[in-house]
Structure formats: structure tokens, C-alpha cells
């Protein structure tokens, strides 16, 4: 849906620039980008995520100026930031809570994509870039969690890097290579610090690609019907900038609540105990946003298979566009998919809850059931649904659904509703 450029250079300077580096044209086009008129508030999370990334990078760079990546000083240097650096407690609090807020927003963003079929043609690349972003975020968050060098930092690093030892034959060598030694130690902390600084800029780069891909295909929308013409869209600015701004302000309230009134609520008290390689904490628990994946890992009795399942739970998202056989995008018109979507949401929440519980008794049984459903959902339910489901009739166009049929405007006669069974 790349649209024709409506930008006309107004001044001699703009003309001069336009012939050399059309950056003014680019921003003009972004601000006038035709956006479906029916987007709901779930579409505001792209902007919210951009905000999260910027906040993390800005606070992170300042924290890096005061942090010491050494096993003997890292823990104390974080305390130094919180106690002695001007507003260090605020920067550190924003950065720590910001990680959680980032994941909260990205999960909403992804479930939005799943519900409205935003991953389907022609948005496969857009979706895949999103999954790449998720992986980069997870790596960044994991390495960032190691930096304060508390007990959970150390033992999370030990548990997660040890997963690579499940690889047959070369596993042990890979783990030692990752550690830079024979255990998690100073070289590990140093490289995690370097990578934790690097990866956000890679995220930034992929975000640019993600937005680029978005501007090629255009937004999906709640009814999942392609934009048919001008009557279906609105200029991004100022309508959507203001709507995004309002949603961002609401999000910022929640963010600020955690920063100022419950900064440690989402963390674990054990991370205020300095890392001690000789003392394993009674329960090693990852941050909340990793809990569903942790539950999948522990649900499977074999270490290697557990690792494979955990990794596959994200990799399966890469092939989702081709697993889905339904031509109707939005769950609005898919009565069966809508039910299974909510079952899937419950599955993910259930896995998250169980990830924090010891893997025993009923907890383990349910973790296994949910893990099984997680994969059944992608590998069996989604392909099958497209074949057996009878979708509800879809409107002809966005403007028809918004403005009502009488006013028309779809560019087509109001005769037949779109074929009811677009299989």
C-alpha cells in the first residue's frame, strides 16, 4: 500500500535538500502515512514499544557511565548508583522496571497480531522481524539481569548458559566458550556487559526494518480487510499521533507507578544478595516475562528435549504465517479461532504461573498439559481451523464497516457481501 508522495517542497532550501537528501520528504510522508481509520487501542502498542526502547537506551547509557563490570565491584556499583549518583535511584528504577514494561507491551502487541491475523500475507516479513525483535529483547534482558551480580543474576546466568551443554558432543565446549572459562565468572560478566550495551542498537536497527516493512504493507486493522482506497484511511498525523500519545500517557502512569511505588515488586529479593558461586538459592526463578518459557523447559523430563521445546516455542512463531490456512485475517469473523485464541491466552498465562512454581505434583501435570496445548495450538489447531471453519461474512471495505453501507464509498456496488466462506 505504498502511497504516492504528496509532499511538495515549499522553500528553496527544501527544494535544495530534496534533491540531495530527501529527509524532509520522508518525514512528511511518515506523518501523512495513510492509516486505516478503524484501528483500536491495541494498535497503540507499536508507539509504546518505541517509547520503551528509547527509555531503556537513554537510561542505560547513563547507568553505564557509573557501573563497574567486575565480579568484586558490580553489586556495590549498582548500590553506589542508587545511593550516591544524583537521581541514580530514579535512573536505575526506570531501567529495571522498564524491562518489565517493555515485555508487557510486547506481549500485548504480539497477542494483538495473533488475534487480528496481522502475520498473514502480505505481512509475513513484518511479523518475522517482530519475532527477531522478541529474540533480541530476550537476549538483552537476560544479559542485563546478570549485571547487578546478585544471587539470581549469577544463578540465572549459570542455569541458562548451562542449557547449551545439552547439545550433544560440542555442548560442553560451547558452554565454556560462552563463559570464557570454566564457570560463570568475571569474563562472563564482562562479555554480557558488552553485549547488553550492543544488542539494544541491533534492536533499534531491526525496529527500523520493522517500521519500513510496516510502511510497505500498511497497517492491518481490526476487521482485517485490505485498504481499498482513500476513504478507508486517515493521515497518521495528527489523528493517530494524538491517539497514540493518549495511550502512551496511560501506559506511562502504570510505568511510573512501578518506578515510584513498587520498584522491586517485579524483581526477586535474592538479587539483593551479592552473587555467591558456593551457595545455590533454594528456588532459582527467572524474571516474570521468561516464566512461560521456563515452564516449558521444565515440563519436559529430558534436558535436551526441554531446551528444544523451549526454543521451538519461539521458533514456531517464524513459520506461523504458513501454518495458518485461513484466508480471513481477523478473529472477528472467525467464530472458532476466536475461542481457540482465548484458550491459547489462558495457556500462556497458565504457563507463566507454573513457571514460578516448583516442577512437582499437580504443577508439573498442568505444565505438561499447557506445554502440549501450546504446540498443538500452532501445529494442529491453526492449520485445521482454516479448513473446517465457516467464517462469518466480512464487510466489503473498512469504510463500509465504519461509515455504514448506505453511504457506500467502498468503490464497489453494495450488492453481495463478500463470499461467506473464504476458505
Amino acid at each position: 500500500m505504498s502511497h504516492e508522495s504528496t509532499y511538495k517542497p515549499n522553500s528553496n532550501f527544501e527544494k535544495w535538500m530534496d534533491e540531495r537528501l530527501p529527509i524532509i520528504r520522508m518525514s512528511a510522508e511518515i506523518s501523512s502515512f495513510p492509516t486505516p481509520r478503524n484501528l483500536n487501542y491495541l494498535w497503540t502498542f507499536g508507539g509504546i514499544l518505541t517509547f520503551c526502547l528509547v527509555v531503556q537506551i537513554v537510561t542505560g547509557i547513563i547507568l553505564a557511565m557509573h557501573y563497574t563490570p567486575h565480579v568484586d565491584y558490580a553489586f556495590d556499583s549498582v548500590q553506589h548508583i542508587k545511593r550516591n549518583v544524583n537521581f541514580g535511584w530514579l535512573l536505575q528504577g526506570i531501567h529495571m522496571v522498564g524491562g518489565s514494561m517493555f515485555f508487557l507491551a510486547v506481549f500485548v502487541h504480539m497477542f494483538r497480531g495473533l488475534y487480528y491475523g496481522s502475520y498473514k500475507a502480505p505481512r509475513e516479513i513484518l511479523w518475522i522481524l517482530g519475532v527477531v525483535l522478541l529474540l533480541l529483547m530476550m537476549a538483552t534482558a537476560f544479559m542485563g539481569y546478570v549485571l547487578p551480580w546478585g544471587q539470581m543474576s549469577f544463578w540465572a546466568a549459570t542455569v541458562i548458559t548451562n542449557l547449551f551443554s545439552a547439545i550433544p558432543l560440542i555442548g560442553e565446549s560451547i558452554v565454556q566458550w560462552l563463559w570464557g572459562g570454566f564457570s560463570v565468572d568475571n569474563p562472563t560478566l564482562n562479555r554480557f556487559y558488552a553485549l547488553h550495551f550492543l544488542l539494544p542498537f541491533m534492536i533499534f536497527g531491526v525496529v527500523v526494518l520493522h517500521i519500513w516493512a510496516l510502511h510497505v504493507t500498511g497497517n492491518n486493522n481490526p476487521i482485517g480487510i485490505d485498504v481499498k482506497g482513500k476513504q478507508d484511511t486517515l493521515a497518521f498525523h495528527p489523528l493517530y499521533t494524538l491517539k497514540d500519545g493518549f495511550a502512551l500517557a496511560v501506559f506511562a502512569i502504570l510505568f511510573a507507578w512501578f518506578v515510584f511505588y513498587a520498584p522491586d515488586y517485579l524483581g526477586h529479593p535474592d538479587n539483593y544478595i551479592q552473587a555467591n558461586p558456593l551457595q545455590t538459592p533454594p528456588h532459582i526463578v527467572p524474571e516474570w516475562y521468561f516464566l512461560p518459557f521456563y515452564a516449558i523447559l521444565r515440563a519436559i523430563p529430558s534436558k535436551l528435549l526441554g531446551v528444544i521445546a523451549m526454543v521451538s516455542s519461539i521458533l514456531v512463531l517464524f513459520i506461523l504465517p504458513w501454518l495458518d490456512t485461513s484466508r480471513v485475517r481477523s478473529a472477528k469473523f472467525r467464530p472458532l479461532y476466536r475461542i481457540f485464541f482465548w484458550i491459547f491466552v489462558v495457556t500462556c498465562l497458565g504457563l507463566g504461573y507454573l513457571g514460578a512454581k516448583p516442577p512437582e505434583g499437580n504443577y508439573l501435570i498442568f505444565a505438561r498439559l499447557f506445554t502440549a496445548y501450546y504446540f498443538i495450538h500452532f501445529l494442529i489447531v491453526i492449520p485445521m481451523l482454516g479448513l473446517i471453519e465457516r467464517p462469518k461474512p466480512t464487510p466489503n471495505s473498512i469504510s463500509e464497516s465504519v461509515l455504514g453501507k448506505s453511504k457506500g464509498g467502498g468503490g464497489q456496488p453494495d450488492a453481495v457481501p463478500a463470499a461467506p466462506e473464504n476458505r
Binding site: 481509520r37 478503524n38 483500536n40 487501542y41 556495590d76 548500590q79 542508587k82 545511593r83 535511584w89 530514579l90 528504577g93 486517515l234 495528527p238 489523528l239 494524538l242 491517539k243 500519545g245 493518549f246 495511550a247 500517557a249 496511560v250 506511562a252 502512569i253 502504570l254 511510573a256 507507578w257 512501578f258 518506578v259 515510584f260 511505588y261 513498587a262 520498584p263 522491586d264 515488586y265 529479593p269 535474592d270 539483593y272 544478595i273 533454594p282 504461573y353 465504519v402 461509515l403
Partner: protein, 291 residues
């Protein structure tokens, strides 16, 4: 539909903040109910949105720490100057100097290359009782008394609730800004010493404690009634000592708590006004288009 969602989310954020302000204003009934015998959530002056420390309580807490705990436990991340800073015990400048001067600090090397001892200054860190962990262990029956600088945040009280109540529990704790788990735990631990049940096998040199994980703790009961003299008429009981100490540890772990909550309130008001204005602007603009 969209307008409805917008109005609802604006309304919800206002409700959320108001609920938090209400729940957070110290002694909410929801928490007072669970104030059973010394375990569970206590009511603290520093809980909630308007939480602040009780200066006298922190000063008493420091006295108990100084006279009892500091024989075995250090607080290496604190400096004497912290005792005089805003939002803390707020000892006067002279008092801080006097407290610091009561300690011998190793400094140096001097011009001859020798380390030497001198009187403490406000800028010095708290002096730890042992030179290193090995010395600490050898003096304590091979148990290591942990440094208490961040103990207020390094412990927590875990409320076990059935899975279907968990979301409500989280929401309640988030809305109340519950961050006092460390103080609750310390208070429960310090008042949790008891005779071991007859069927409990206590290892040699260990004490029974109702709260400590595994119920065996190497630290003998540190507090006893009348052990520390209070000059302000506060009762000299184990419960009161434990309460004052727990508050002191919370401050030590979170010296910027008051600054954080005060700034937070202003930020919240600012964000609420911004949100309402953005909502009104958004509604006005969108009323011109069908969506």
C-alpha cells in the same frame, strides 16, 4: 466503540491511581486484618504512597544496631554521613560527627608506607566488625553473619494464596505499592525465636526460629527486654526493638525512599493531568472523522 475504550481507559487509570492512593495511605484495613502474631504484614509508617520514616524510630533502630547487631554484622555500603541526610534518621551534623569519631578507621598508607588508624569522619563507611569473611566465620562457630546494608530488600515475606486468588493478590499488592516484605520478614524473624517443638531435631549450636527457612538459625536470639536503653520513654521490649530495627534496615536498604515517594506523587499528578488533556484533545480531533 473506540471512544468508549478511550473513556474507559482514562477512567481506569484515574481509578487505579485513586485506589492506590487509598490502599497506599498506610494502615489500610485489608492489611491490618493480617496483623496476626508477628508474622505477616505489619503496619509501617513508610508503606504506601505517602510513606515516610519516623526519625525517632530510625534513631532508635540505629542505636539497637550499633549496640547489638554491629558486634557481628557490618553495613559496608552505608556512610556515617547518611545518618544525617534528609529522609533518614536525620541526626544533627554534630551528632553524626560524634558518631563517626567514635570509630577507629584504617587509613593510609602514610608517607612512610604504613597503614594507620584515625578517628572516623562523616564521609567514612560504617566499620565492619571483622576484617574478612574467614575471620567472621571463625568467630561465629563457622556461620557467616551477613552484611546488613541491603537486608531490608534482600528478604521478603511470601504470601501463599490459591492460584485463583493469585491475580487479585498481585493486583492488591501492586495497587498498595507493597515493598515492605523485607521489614516484615526481619520483624517476624527477630520476634520468631521459640523453644523447638519436642519432635524437632536441632543441630548443635543452632537456635529454633519460627520464620527462618528450615527453622534452624545460627544466630542466637540477639534481643532481650531492657537490653538497649531508650531515653525517649519508648518501651524497652524485644517487640519494640525488632520493630525499630526493621524500620532502620528498610531505610538503610532504601535511603531514597522518601525522595522517591515524594517525587512520585508529583509525577503522578502531572501524568494524570496530561492524560486527561490528551484524552480531551484526542476526542475533539476524532469527533470530526468517522472511525
Amino acid at each position: 466503540m473506540n471512544r468508549l475504550v478511550g473513556a474507559i481507559s482514562a477512567f481506569c487509570s484515574v481509578c487505579f491511581v485513586l485506589a492506590g492512593l487509598w490502599l497506599g495511605s498506610a494502615n489500610s484495613p485489608a492489611f491490618a486484618a493480617s496483623e496476626a502474631p508477628h508474622t505477616g504484614m505489619q503496619s509501617w509508617t513508610f508503606s504506601g504512597v505517602f510513606g515516610h520514616f519516623d526519625r525517632a524510630q530510625l534513631q532508635r533502630g540505629y542505636k539497637v544496631y550499633q549496640e547489638v547487631c554491629s558486634n557481628c554484622h557490618g553495613m559496608r555500603l552505608l556512610s556515617f554521613r547518611n545518618l544525617g541526610e534528609a529522609g533518614g534518621p536525620e541526626f544533627s551534623e554534630a551528632e553524626v560527627k560524634a558518631i563517626a569519631a567514635g570509630f577507629q578507621v584504617v587509613d593510609g598508607p602514610n608517607r612512610d608506607g604504613e597503614m594507620f588508624e584515625r578517628d572516623g569522619k562523616p564521609s567514612d563507611r560504617f566499620v565492619s566488625p571483622f576484617k574478612n569473611d574467614n575471620e567472621a566465620r571463625s568467630a561465629n562457630n563457622s556461620a557467616l553473619p551477613p552484611d546488613l546494608s541491603v537486608i531490608g530488600k534482600a528478604r521478603g515475606l511470601h504470601r501463599e494464596v490459591p492460584w485463583y486468588l493469585a491475580p487479585f493478590n498481585w493486583l492488591q499488592e501492586i495497587a498498595a505499592g507493597y515493598q515492605e516484605g523485607g521489614a516484615d520478614y526481619m520483624f517476624a524473624l527477630l520476634t520468631g525465636y521459640a523453644e523447638a517443638p519436642s519432635d524437632f531435631k536441632l543441630a548443635e549450636g543452632m537456635e529454633y526460629n519460627k520464620v527462618f527457612p528450615g527453622h534452624q538459625i545460627a544466630m542466637p536470639p540477639p534481643l532481650s527486654d531492657e537490653a538497649v536503653e531508650y531515653t525517649d520513654g519508648t518501651p524497652q521490649t524485644v517487640t519494640q526493638y525488632a520493630r525499630d530495627l526493621s524500620a532502620f534496615f528498610m531505610w538503610a536498604a532504601d535511603t531514597k525512599l522518601e525522595q522517591r515517594k515524594q517525587l512520585g506523587f508529583r509525577v503522578m499528578i502531572y501524568l494524570l493531568i496530561l492524560t486527561v488533556l490528551l484524552y480531551l484533545a484526542k476526542r475533539k480531533l476524532w469527533s470530526r472523522v468517522k472511525h
